[in-house]
Amino acid sequence: MARKPKADERIILLAAVERLGHEFAVDQGAAEKYLAVRETKRNPKLDLVEEAAYAAFSLALLNLDETLTKE
């Protein structure tokens, strides 16, 4: 999986990042807990909520069939 999203996928993916951002903004403690599992140190310059949203979003991307299976 190393390609740009197509138009229909773009709509789904952008909506996902936005929704996750809203959800972590409401509960910043959850964002901290979610980001606590990691090997590298957190970069304090990055926005906590945005980073958590993108991390969760990546979890979805990494679990797509296309990521896991070579057709």
């Binding site: 197509k6 229909d8 996928e9 789904i12 993916l13 909506a15 996902a16 929704r19 996750l20 959800e23 509960d27 403690g29 959850a30 964002a31 901290e32 807990k33 979610y34 980001l35 606590a36 599992v37 958590a52 969760a56 979890l59 979805a60 679990n63 797509l64 069939d65 296309e66 896991l68 299976t69 057709e71």
Partner: protein, 477 residues
């Protein structure tokens, strides 16, 4: 879409859906709804006597000679060379090699006749002895394989080579699920403590072979989370998880429309199953409402996840919740040098829970339509493996020519012993039951004609019983 790829991928899937006019999208939806009455299943072919199966698989091959198949002549000939005529035309494992001159070994513990039925059960199994009148002992089982993995694979999939669908997968495919929140085919494994037996539980023992992979057994673990990675990561709410799963599903559906790989719809259904299992599995594994006397019945290890006792109780809870096929595997029965030592532990760990399971199912009225099976992949030699002078290390080698298995419930006659071996428990001499006959009989009780439950793969129809198998009607009510 590439028409050749589409053909290659979907031809079997279309057959599975009975050549209905399902498009790919609706086929994916249909697989989400594969429980009773919601999607087409290929069976039952006739009214079933049983709805579900609990298979207590005794991995390593329990010794029929010491546990069930009582032969006084073994005592008479104890320590003398086995007469040649018993060995004619037989091959044994490489450990035994040529069996000529091997010494007869009498059963380690005495036998008694039990219950009204008078079934012979060794003192090794006092709890099983107590429920003898509920059991149908098949004394004339025989198989093809002489080693464990091929033997187990043969019993479970009808082939010594891995790669065919196992019984649970066939049933999930044929009959669908009766509970949309749990898998139709569940697997649990355990090993006796302190055993020197090195048996491995290969994943192909619950594989789906060429059937769609959503029919494979789901393994429940013995410690921590019964199913791995079901819980949400820290900081992720259930709402977030749901949203992400919907996003993944939408993305995967786009891919499914583009390439049509049925394994994508498997993934879609399994993600949804995992989500529902976030609720159903903790409820399943919560034993706090089990009455103390019931827990006690299963024995002291019942509260310890990962033990056979715990798995037996879990199997009953799964049966109650409609899991079609529960495969409870217990290793440690490979007594090459431990019939006078480890066999005791082995029996102690399994005897009480196995009997408790049958009693418990009966108490709940579930035994009528649940089949419980207890048995291994073959038997053990009536002759000694090891040095006769060293009793502590007496053992028995692999023996495919005869072994005992018991069944209970699900329309199988209780309180009978079926079939017979010769006076040394070496060869079947009456009413042989080959593994394929046993498989055909099991499917029959579930309303399936074993000759008609087929799946086309690589140009030919496959079945659990290959081109063999006769239903053993004499053991059925």
């Amino acid at each position: 879409m590439n028409p050749w790829l589409e053909h290659q991928r979907l031809i079997t899937r279309r057959q599975f859906f009975g050549r209905t006019a399902c498009g790919i999208g609706s086929a994916a939806l249909a697989s989400l709804l594969s429980r009773d009455g919601f999607a087409q299943t290929v069976a039952p072919h006739f009214a079933p006597k049983a709805k579900r199966v609990i298979y207590l698989f005794m991995d390593g091959a329990p010794t029929h000679v010491d546990l069930f198949d009582y032969k006084p002549k073994l005592q008479e000939l104890h320590g003398t060379p086995i007469p040649d005529e018993y060995l004619a035309g037989k091959r044994f494992s490489t450990m035994t090699g040529n069996a000529k001159g091997k010494l007869v070994l009498a059963p380690v513990e005495p036998f008694q006749q039990r219950g009204q039925s008078g079934a012979w059960v060794s003192n090794f199994l006092p709890y099983t002895a107590e429920i003898a009148d509920e059991l149908c002992f098949i004394k004339s089982m025989r198989t093809e394989a002489i080693n464990h993995a091929p033997g187990i694979c043969f019993v479970l999939s009808g082939s010594e080579m891995p790669g065919r669908p196992t019984m649970g997968a066939w049933l999930a495919y044929g009959l669908g699920s009766a509970n949309e929140n749990l898998p139709a085919f569940a697997v649990m494994t355990s090993v006796s403590k302190g055993t020197t037996c090195g048996q491995i539980f290969y994943d192909f023992y619950w594989g789906s072979g060429f059937l769609p992979s959503r029919f494979q057994g789901v393994k429940f673990r013995g410690g921590g989370d019964p199913v791995l990675y079901l819980s949400n990561p820290d900081g992720m709410s259930a709402k977030m998880r749901r949203g992400l799963l919907d996003d993944i599903a939408r993305m995967n559906e786009i891919k499914l429309r583009a390439v049509g790989d049925p394994e994508i719809s498997t993934r879609l259904t399994q993600y949804e199953m995992a989500f529902r299992m976030q609720t159903s599995v903790p409820e399943l594994a919560d034993l706090s409402k089990e009455p103390p006397e019931i827990l006690e019945m299963y024995g002291p290890q019942v509260k310890e996840p990962g033990t056979f006792a715990h798995n037996c109780l879990m199997a009953r809870r799964m049966a109650e919740r409609g899991v079609r096929f529960v495969q409870v595997m217990h290793a440690g029965w490979d007594q090459h040098g431990s019939v006078t030592t480890e066999l005791y532990t082995q029996c102690k760990d399994t005897d009480q829970p196995s009997a408790a399971l049958v009693k418990d199912l009966k108490r709940l009225g579930l035994l009528d339509d649940t089949i419980v099976i207890w048995g291994g992949e073959f038997g053990r030699t009536p002759f000694l493996q090891g040095d006769f002078k060293e009793r502590q290390k007496w053992g028995r080698d692999h023996h495919p020519y005869a072994f005992t298995l018991w069944m209970a419930g699900g329309g199988v006659k209780p309180g009978i012993s079926y079939g017979e071996t010769d006076d040394l428990a070496m060869n079947v001499i009456k009413d042989p039951v080959h593994v394929h006959d046993f498989q055909a009989t099991l499917l029959h009780q579930l309303g399936i004609d074993h000759e008609r439950l087929t799946y086309k793969f690589q140009g030919r129809n496959f079945r659990l019983t290959d081109v063999h198998g006769n239903v053993v009607k004499d053991i059925l009510i």
